[in-house]
């Protein structure tokens, strides 16, 4: 059996070397292939990025902001081994699972100039997205091995034909064109392998890497890829997911959906952008600030003084001052682009103005006040 399996891998590798057609998913149990195509998750043709058969694209109700990069997420599990449902934590994916996240931008010119715009994610037609006026930057792999999850960053080449493993990450100079005509130069950060753990080891004591977005509350939304289905229902039907879902699955709001209450949208945003560190056992538990969906009071930051924020206070006294976003440290740390003060600490170089506006609106609508003794 083992021998058969090995032959399959060799065959798949050979196939990908030749004509780049019919790529098939390959689980690399130990070695880290140099090329993204060796995983067989995605294949690039002259004008399309093609998702391989059996690989499922997905998206999140409210995603992490990454300098306005657009994202294509996929998941693949080995045959017949669905993930087990958990209500609050990451689903239990079997060994062999491969998750990809491709970061790309809308660009004004098909010639790469470093100029990027704030666009919308490309819809998947059939099993591919069109590459016209689009620049692929990097694809991150999360692979579940016997030894645990491993995170690997691949950077797309100049010709956009292949992505190559770059474990030390990179900084890619870009110019962001905001919708209002203003431009900003920034360095897009591809994290190095150790930095991947900075977010993906969301229990700082266990320090075990795991996916972040693959939780019920992030995935519980209308599917963008299977019209008419709820994404969780689609996964159940497809055999990607198993387990009794007792009662309604938790659900984060879509942060841009103005029909949802502002509090739900803001809390979904803080959850997706902050709680991988700001949770009761996370790397930011040193701060006493918890931004998971069920946090409240000082733990959530309301009238909470900082512990070790340093420059990050912005001269403000409380994390959240009800009714006063401009006096709230939370808003300062989202607005600033000083690496010593900004939040999140990694993966953002420019300000997410729409996110700041959302959290500010939520704080502005809060009742209450903070007292100062000093």
């Amino acid at each position: 059996m083992l021998r058969f399996y090995c032959i399959c891998i060799v065959f798949a590798a050979l196939a990908s070397c030749s004509e780049r057609k019919e790529p098939a998913p390959v689980f690399h149990a130990e070695e880290n292939p140099e090329r993204l195509s060796d995983w067989g998750m995605l294949a690039e043709t002259a004008d399309e990025l093609v998702i391989s058969d059996g690989v499922t694209p997905y998206d999140l109700a409210t995603p992490l902001f990454s300098d306005y990069a657009l994202k294509l997420r996929t998941v693949w599990i080995p045959n017949g081994a669905p993930a087990a449902y958990n209500m609050d934590s990451v689903f239990d994916f079997p060994v062999g699972t491969i998750i990809t996240k491709t970061f790309y931008y809308s660009v004004p010119s098909n010639e790469w100039t470093g100029d990027v715009t704030i666009g919308r994610e490309r819809s998947v037609n059939g099993n591919a997205i069109a590459l016209d006026h689009l620049r692929l930057i990097e694809t991150r792999i999360l692979v579940h091995r016997e030894t645990g999850w491993a995170a690997l960053p691949y950077i797309w080449n100049e010709e956009q034909t292949e992505a190559v493993l770059k474990r030390t990450g990179a900084v890619i100079p870009m110019t962001l064109h905001r919708g209002d005509g203003r431009t900003e130069e920034f360095g897009y950060l591809v994290p190095n392998v150790n930095q991947c753990a900075g977010c993906h080891a969301s229990d700082a004591t266990a320090r075990v890497i795991e996916p972040i977005g693959l939780k019920a509350r992030h995935l519980n939304k209308a599917s963008s890829f299977a019209p008419g289905f709820n994404q969780l229902d689609y996964w159940l039907a497809k055999g990607l997911l198993t387990g009794g879902i007792a009662g309604p699955a938790p659900r984060n709001a879509v942060w841009t959906d103005e029909s949802e209450p502002i509090e739900a949208r803001a809390r979904a945003y803080l959850d997706a952008n902050c709680s991988h560190c700001h949770n009761p056992v996370g790397p930011a538990d040193t701060s006493g600030l918890n931004l998971e969906p069920d946090a409240a009071g000082p733990a959530l930051g309301v009238c909470k003084t900082p512990i070790a924020a340093g420059t990050g206070t912005g001269g403000r006294v409380f994390s959240i001052v009800p009714g006063d976003p401009e006096a709230s440290i939370t808003v300062f740390r989202m607005e600033t682009d000083n690496p010593g003060a900004m939040m999140p600490e990694l993966g953002r170089a420019v300000t997410h103005k729409e996110g700041v506006a959302l959290v500010s609106e939520w704080i502005a609508a809060m009742d209450g006040e903070c007292s100062r003794s000093g």
Binding site: G169, V171, V193, V317, G340
Partner: protein, 406 residues
């Protein structure tokens, strides 16, 4: 090629020494990938050697593997500069146990210089962290910053220019901080929410506050049992350049040793002199901005069992920071006088039997000024010597455990 690189490095190092620099000196950028790859590939038992030279980084470094040693050629020879850093909240972030770092310098990071989070058996030896353009509010917050660690030895290190604390030990257990030097930071050395810390043989000078022992609300663990002894704590009179909202921003310039809301703190055998606000301050959270806002209910805001004895006090208290303290000094001691060596804010747990639960002073002529905080400073007074003429049981020395046992 290698020789050329080294020659260039030597040249820039010379240049840095030869002039009073206004901007941080540049460094060799080619080493970033090398060191980053070594940190990623590190295995337990590895020693990563950083050669002599000045090396420039544009983003933060991190290590996640237990059992690694990072060793330079000396705190003035192997210099990692982050003056052009564009990403990362610290220079070097360690999330690992059984870690040793020694003989190197980290300069001009945008955030913290060296952060070590959640590890056991940590040794930091002869490491220098510095913001090279002087004390400035824009400087990063912490120089050397172990947090939530257990069994820690920090020795012979140097911290200069941090806009919060130079050497900051937070939420930790069983630590020895000795023979270090902290200057031109807002707080020189800060022990916060930590159990069992011995702080000795250090020099803290030209900070806003020399050595701080604090407990902060809303954290997982409080702290207690810190011994501050045989240190040189003098002329900590640098204007407070911390950020408003940070706990240290409320420290008056000219503070020698400050205890805030911590319990069982022993201050003895130190040479404490010429700290212009007061040589020793004992306060509750109610006297500082850190008491603002909401506190978790189990937080104890009162300092208790603070024992000051056998220190050498000299000068200090003669020019306190801020109008209120100036007025207080005038009222208590007149224009030529000084605030006594020990200043206490006067807050006590309502359950306490009296000041002798809070503060005992066995220190020759040293006096205690009770500023009467609970009554809005209405009747500040120099305490009758008998009030604080008491003693607490002395704390045992901190013993590092295996593998750091000495």
């Amino acid at each position: 090629m290698m020789r050329l690189v080294l020659a260039v490095a030597a040249f820039t190092a010379l240049a840095a020494c030869g002039q009073k620099e206004t901007a941080p000196a540049p460094g060799d950028e080619s080493y970033q990938e090398t060191l980053m790859a070594q940190l990623i590939d590190a295995r337990s038992g590895d020693i990563i050697e950083i050669p002599a030279g000045r090396f420039a980084f544009d983003r933060s470094l991190s290590l996640t593997v237990d059992g690694v040693t990072i060793r330079g050629a000396g705190m003035d020879k192997s210099v990692l500069t982050f003056a052009n850093q564009i990403a990362g909240a610290e220079g070097l972030l360690i999330t690992a146990s059984d870690f040793t770092i020694e003989d190197l310098a980290i300069e001009d990071t945008k955030g913290d210089a060296l952060k070590i989070s959640e590890g056991k058996n940590i040794v930091i030896r002869r490491v220098r962290t510095e913001w090279t353009t002087g004390p400035k509010t824009e400087n990063g917050a912490y120089g050397i910053y172990p947090v939530q660690v257990e069994n820690l030895l920090m020795e012979e290190s140097v911290a200069i220019g941090a806009s919060d604390a130079g050497l900051y030990i937070g939420q930790s257990k069983n630590v020895i901080i000795r023979n270090n030097r902290a200057e031109y930071n807002v707080a020189g050395i800060e022990i916060e929410n930590t159990f069992d810390a011995d702080v000795y043989g250090n020099v803290a000078t030209n900070n806003t506050g020399g050595i701080l022992v604090f407990n902060m609300p809303n954290l997982k663990q409080p702290g207690a049992r810190t011994r501050v002894f045989n240190n040189e704590i003098y002329e900590n009179n640098t204007k407070n350049f911390g950020h408003e909202g940070t706990p240290v921003a409320s420290i008056p310039a000219g503070s020698g040793v400050v205890v805030n809301s911590n319990d069982q703190v022993e201050i003895f055998g130190n040479n404490i002199r010429d700290n212009k606000t007061a040589n020793v301050i004992v306060a509750s959270v109610f006297s500082s901005d850190i008491g603002d806002g909401d506190m978790s209910e189990d937080f104890d805001p009162y300092p208790e069992k603070i024992f000051v004895y056998d220190n050498m006090f000299e000068g200090g208290g003669d020019n306190p920071d801020g109008l209120e303290l100036q007025a207080l000094k005038l009222a208590i001691a007149g224009p030529m006088g000084r605030i006594p060596d020990v200043l206490w804010d006067g807050y006590m747990d309502p359950e306490a039997s009296g000041p002798q639960d809070v503060l005992c002073v066995q220190n020759g002529e040293a006096k205690v000024l009770n500023v009467d905080g609970p009554n809005g400073n209405k009747s500040p007074r120099i305490a009758e010597p008998a009030i604080h003429d008491c003693a607490f049981e002395k704390l045992p020395a901190v013993e590092l455990t295996e593998p750091l046992a000495e």
